[in-house]
């Protein structure tokens, strides 16, 4: 909403403030003023000129040499506009003037001819092209002949004006009109609101004699008022009206249309003007459209309608799309002599639906959608009739053609001051509350210690007691509200164990060198299930914005790989990222997808990079595995996890494992398949993804202290040659079983395949530590158990001992 402060001052006197202070007060009271537009934009030295002579420039086809009277002085100006002609009154920027956009006007020579200034279009004065009357859209602006050369053009165009840009919240549709703004400003400043005085001399002829009205769709159109004005002369509007409309962001057309728009902005009541003769039938019928009925609207587009779209018809065919746009067939035009003014209440839901379906949002539809003031429907029609009489020479027929089933009674709200103060934490006296209501011009009485308020229909946002608390508080001043903290029982607060452990996982992964990524939940169908631990029917959006973001992900890995590719392409060659977030699997009984929190990570490039000391190591499977093990260690679950070789689509078949937590497969870890790496422009890349929800919901092993050993332990190293496919985990298991209680730990310290080891075999070396917490072990005891271990390895794993 654009509010011209000049126009505003005709309804409320705000002038003891600066515009800046006015804007600040309005903002602080609840309507945010986004900006103040100074329409004169610092321009000066721009006058009205009279073109006394205009000839073609001898050296340039498109230029004219004009002699211009700029007030007591005739000066030569070269003009390139196609519509320049002798006898016109025009806007002249004289030498020294600065135009918006920074253009400085100087004396100049154009193709050898002197030019002392510039003849301007409205656009050159900073008026948006879409607001410039169509006749002048492509050239200079021509002023009426009765203006005086030498006068200030800016003053004539009403540009010495400052316009407030309102950022209205959806509830404040009352401020979508100048009168509504005036009531608001009046309340803030404790000033009277001056309403327009409507008076005109009506003709003896009656509107009813000219027009018959039938409203069939009474629910969507509970009130319809039509007035008839005859003998109008369609012409350009007077300058002040054009100026006012442009200040409000509306393009002037002709006096009839401009008057309907002016009243729309003044009262917030959209009006429509029909050419009476073009209606042909002398009849208006408001009904729902028939399926596939069509109308060509004012913008010349043909719209196909449905049976819930409300239309105004002439009894035969639609002549307007109710509340949205008029029809081309009944449009007011230059030859129009008799006008039908429509002022109506169309149901907000109906207008919203139609406006959305046909893709048309207009100043009218936005107001109907929010509900116009039922008590202004008649006033607005009368106001338009008055202006048509005054400005278009019209003769207003007596009375109007009316259908009215609209409830116009005010809502009553009863409020106790305690209720207000208890909710605000304040002690505002009752008479102060009453005086705020007076400022708002809300009729209020204090009865038995209660405020009884009858809410005017212009304030449709005020419906419940809390709405009135806000009115009181905002006008009393939010600054006056004290700062307190909630009192009452204090609560412990804190993270749930799940949330606390999630933070542990994040901190661990960061300490391990991985940075936290944040990727999108929406993915392309191609990526939706890639690498997923578990797949389920994909959840698709009804109206995606792009294929790439059309379904919900079932794995985090694809987007982490995207992030890796993005970084590598920008020479961040070593990437270590993790993410915790939801994946979305199928649909559960309550209709929602099963949302499961996962943790995933990606590693590529170097893991250690400390080149000058010769330390550099590429990422490998065991780097990722160590991170995963460390994570489980932090969660007290390390003892319960196991890795088994796995085949997963998109992963390297020899370098991928399933991660088990007890009997549950909770995750996957491994190298991305080389083909996939290539497709994604990645070198060797490792990923992992775990079902974080299951992991965090698993209780940790109890944390209980193990006594620090008082007796020494004894270590024995063994080197084994086994078949290549024997897993290290299997060997460790055998060692542990045979070693029993005395075996404290087993650690692999060497792995070798190749020269000196037979083909199909590999050599592993373990360090075994024996220990008894109660005493020092004897050599014989160790020898006994150690040889049991060796025997077990020989028998169960066909291991050969290497000396």
């Amino acid at each position: 909403m654009l509010v011209s402060t000049n126009w505003l001052s005709t309804y409320v006197d705000w002038n003891e403030l600066s515009v800046e202070d006015l804007a600040e007060k309005i903002t602080r009271a609840g309507i945010e003023v986004d900006g103040i537009i100074n329409r004169s934009l610092g321009m000066d030295n721009i006058v009205i000129g009279y073109v006394t002579d205009c000839v073609k420039h001898p050296e340039a086809d498109k230029l004219h040499i004009c002699q211009v009277d700029v007030g007591g002085e005739v000066t030569q100006i070269i003009c390139g506009a196609p519509n320049i002609a002798a006898g016109q009154k025009v806007i002249v920027a004289r030498p020294g003037a600065v135009l918006p956009g920074g253009m400085k006007i100087k004396k100049a020579k154009l193709r050898g001819e002197e030019s002392n200034g510039m003849i301007c279009s409205l656009q050159e004065l900073g008026i948006e092209g879409k607001l410039v009357p169509k006749a002048y859209a492509e050239g200079i602006y021509v002023l009426p002949s009765d203006v005086r050369a030498g006068d200030s053009a800016l003053r004539h165009l009403g540009l010495y004006d400052q316009v407030l840009e309102f950022d209205l919240t959806p509830n404040r549709s009352d401020a979508l009109s100048m009168l509504g703004v005036a009531y608001e400003v009046g309340a803030i400043l404790s000033k009277e609101v001056k309403l327009p005085v409507i008076s005109y001399k009506a003709s003896a002829e009656k509107a009813q004699d000219y027009l018959k009205l039938t409203v069939e769709a009474t629910e969507d159109n509970p009130m319809y008022v039509a007035k008839v004005v005859k003998n109008v002369k369609v012409a350009e509007s007077p300058q002040w009206l054009q100026n006012t409309l442009m200040s409000a962001g509306i393009r002037p057309h002709n006096n009839i249309v401009d008057i309907t728009n002016y009243v729309l902005m003044e009262y917030g009541q959209p009006l429509h003007a029909f050419d009476y003769n073009r209606l042909e039938t002398k009849e208006i019928v408001v009904r729902h459209a028939r399926v596939d009925e069509t109308i060509v609207t004012l913008d010349q587009a043909e719209r196909t309608l449905n049976d819930h779209n409300l239309v105004i018809t002439n009894g035969i065919e639609p002549v307007a799309l109710a509340g949205v746009m008029g029809g081309a067939n009944s449009e007011v035009h230059e030859g129009t002599t008799t006008v039908v003014i429509e002022s109506a209440y169309f149901a907000p839901g109906s207008v919203r639906q139609t406006s959305k379906e046909v893709g048309l949002r207009s100043d009218a539809s936005t107001r109907f959608e929010k509900g116009v003031d039922p008590n202004r429907v008649v006033d607005a029609a009368e106001r338009a009739a008055q202006l048509m009489a005054e400005l278009a020479g019209g003769e207003v027929l007596g009375g109007s053609v009316t259908f009215d089933e609209l409830d116009k009674t005010p809502e009553r709200i009863i409020l106790s001051p305690d209720y207000v103060n208890n909710r605000l934490g304040m002690k505002i006296p009752m008479d102060e509350m009453k005086s705020i209501m007076d400022r708002l011009q809300i009729p209020t009485e204090a009865i038995n210690g209660q405020l009884v308020m009858d809410i005017p229909t212009r304030r449709q946002d005020l419906r419940i007691k809390e709405d009135m608390i806000e009115e009181i508080a905002r006008l009393y001043g939010y600054d006056e509200i004290p700062k307190t903290l909630p009192v009452g029982e204090s609560t412990p607060g804190g993270l749930t164990p799940y949330q606390a452990k999630r933070r542990i996982v994040r901190r661990f992964l960061e300490a391990a060198g991985l940075s936290q990524a944040l990727t999108y939940s929406l993915a392309s169908p191609k990526d939706a299930q890639a690498f997923a631990l578990e797949t389920a029917p994909v959840t698709e959006l009804l109206m995606p914005m792009s294929e790439e973001r059309s379904v919900l992900r079932q794995s985090i890995i694809p987007h982490l790989l995207d992030a890796a590719t993005y970084n590598v392409a920008r020479r961040n060659e070593s990437v270590a990222l993790y993410e915790t977030g939801s994946v979305f699997l199928g649909i559960e009984e309550d209709g929602l997808p099963k949302e499961v929190e996962h943790v995933a990570a990606v590693l590529t490039g170097k893991w250690v990079n400390h080149a000058w000391q010769g330390e550099s190591k590429k990422v490998d499977f065991f780097v990722m595995k160590g991170i995963v093990e460390g994570m489980f260690e932090q969660l007290g679950l390390l003892e319960r996890i196991e890795f088994t070789k796995a085949t997963v689509e998109g992963m390297h078949p020899g370098r991928t494992a399933t991660v088990w937590l007890g009997d549950t497969a909770v995750g996957m870890i491994g190298q991305v398949h080389p083909t996939v790496q290539n497709e994604r422009d990645l070198q060797e890349t490792y990923v992992m993804e775990m079902n974080l929800r299951v992991i965090l919901e698993t209780a940790a092993e109890e944390l209980f202290y193990t006594p620090v050993p008082r007796f020494p332990s004894i270590s024995r190293d063994i080197a084994l040659v086994v078949n290549s496919d024997t897993s290290a985990a299997n060997l460790e298991k055998i060692i542990h079983q045979a070693g029993g209680k005395l075996l404290k730990s087993v650690q692999l310290f060497d792995l070798y395949e190749g020269k000196n080891v037979e083909d199909g075999k590999k050599s592993l070396a373990f360090s075994l530590t024996y220990f008894d917490p109660e005493r020092t072990l004897t050599d014989e005891e160790v020898v006994t158990v150690h040889s049991k271990v060796l025997d077990a390895l020989t028998v169960q794993a066909n291991a050969q001992l290497r000396s």
Partner: protein, 345 residues
């Protein structure tokens, strides 16, 4: 023999002087004082001397041996010192060479903001509540006083999955769910999470972003409590010298509704490019829980009141750290993410 001894002493002294390393010195010691050395030989030969000379000669030999030993020790000390000095000189390094970096990862800047806010409210007795990102229309809209047909729930603006299920457009459904679950008892929660809107991604819009909201419900919760709480939050996030101001605003789920501005942390309120010359920066929206919302969740709005507030961690991070483009938060460029780990104050 006496001369022999003195000559020997001279000889040893000379050898000691010539020794330049601890090893050479040790060789001298072994050669002269050792079991096979000349002094031992001399002592062995004492038997051949007349008895009366023996004590005298014995004393002389011992004296020489002691003095040689002493000098040997002195020399050893000197040589050891020299050896250490030499070693130290050799071990000297260029201390300006780069250290071995400790490779830590970083948390995401939005996590940093969210956890700072979470921890602040935890210290005031709040719990953290979470809920599904794919939500029922009922919790996302209806239970929040946005009935069907309300303009704010346009299909164009939300990612619907079916007519009744959509990606949540705010974290407020967590509030609705919590109120429903608490069945009339008091609530103090913070709800962080991802939300989705049908926006094209650009410098200031992201179809996925984060929100963090708070909700307090109980007997006698007042608007002044909201103001006091927000004031503490503003000071925590943007510095103790921050002032706040509340402006009336509108949200369907609160009444009265407010927007909170903080005094500009860059210029202190005198006006700069961060606050667009106004001295104030809009940070969050808040209000008293709408009676309809309380009622739908089973609370009696005549007896129980509440306040709620919500903000965007992206906006807070952008303001605090001067980030100009919201897309940075979702691009995962390491050069961006790696900047948000260190202490701020």
């Amino acid at each position: 023999m006496k001369e022999q001894l003195h000559e020997l002493k001279e000889q040893v002294m000379e050898k000691i002087k010539q020794s330049n390393t601890v090893k050479e010195l040790n060789d001298v010691r072994v050669a002269y004082l050792g079991k096979k050395g000349p002094i031992t030989d001399l002592l062995k030969g004492m038997g051949k001397l007349p008895a009366e000379e023996r004590p005298k000669m014995g004393a002389l030999v011992n004296e020489i041996r002691e003095s040689v030993t002493e000098i040997l020790e002195e020399r050893k000390e000197v040589l050891e010192q020299a050896a250490i000095q030499e070693q130290l000189a050799k071990e000297s390094i260029d201390v300006t060479l780069p250290g071995r970096p400790v490779e830590l990862g970083n948390h995401h800047p939005l996590t940093r903001v969210v956890e700072e806010i979470e921890d602040f409210f935890i210290s005031m007795g709040y719990e953290i509540a979470e809920g599904p990102e794919v939500e029922k229309d009922y919790y996302n809209f209806e239970a929040l006083n946005l009935p069907k047909g309300h303009p704010a729930r346009d299909m164009q603006d939300s990612f619907y999955i079916t007519e009744d299920i959509l990606l949540r457009t705010h974290t407020s459904p967590v509030q609705a769910r919590t109120m429903e679950a608490k069945e009339g008892s008091a609530i103090k929660i913070i709800c962080p999470g991802k939300v989705y809107r049908r926006d094209s991604d650009d410098a200031t819009h992201s179809h996925q972003f984060t929100q963090i909201e708070g909700l307090v419900v109980g007997e006698n919760i007042r608007m002044s409590d909201l103001k006091g709480t927000l004031d503490l939050l503003a000071k925590k996030l943007f510095g103790a010298e921050r002032e706040i101001r509340l402006r009336p605003s509108f949200f369907p789920f609160t009444e009265p509704s407010v927007e909170m501005d903080i005094s500009c942390f860059k210029c202190g309120g005198s006006g700069c490019n961060v606050c667009k010359k106004t001295g104030w920066i809009e940070i969050l929206g808040a209000g008293m829980v709408h009676p309809n919302v309380l009622q739908m969740a089973g609370y009696n709005p005549e007896e129980v009141t509440g306040f709620a507030f919500g903000m965007g961690p992206e906006r807070i991070a952008m303001l605090k750290y001067g980030v100009e483009d919201i897309r940075h938060f979702y691009t995962n460029d390491i050069r961006f993410i790696s900047q948000f780990h260190r202490a701020e104050a």
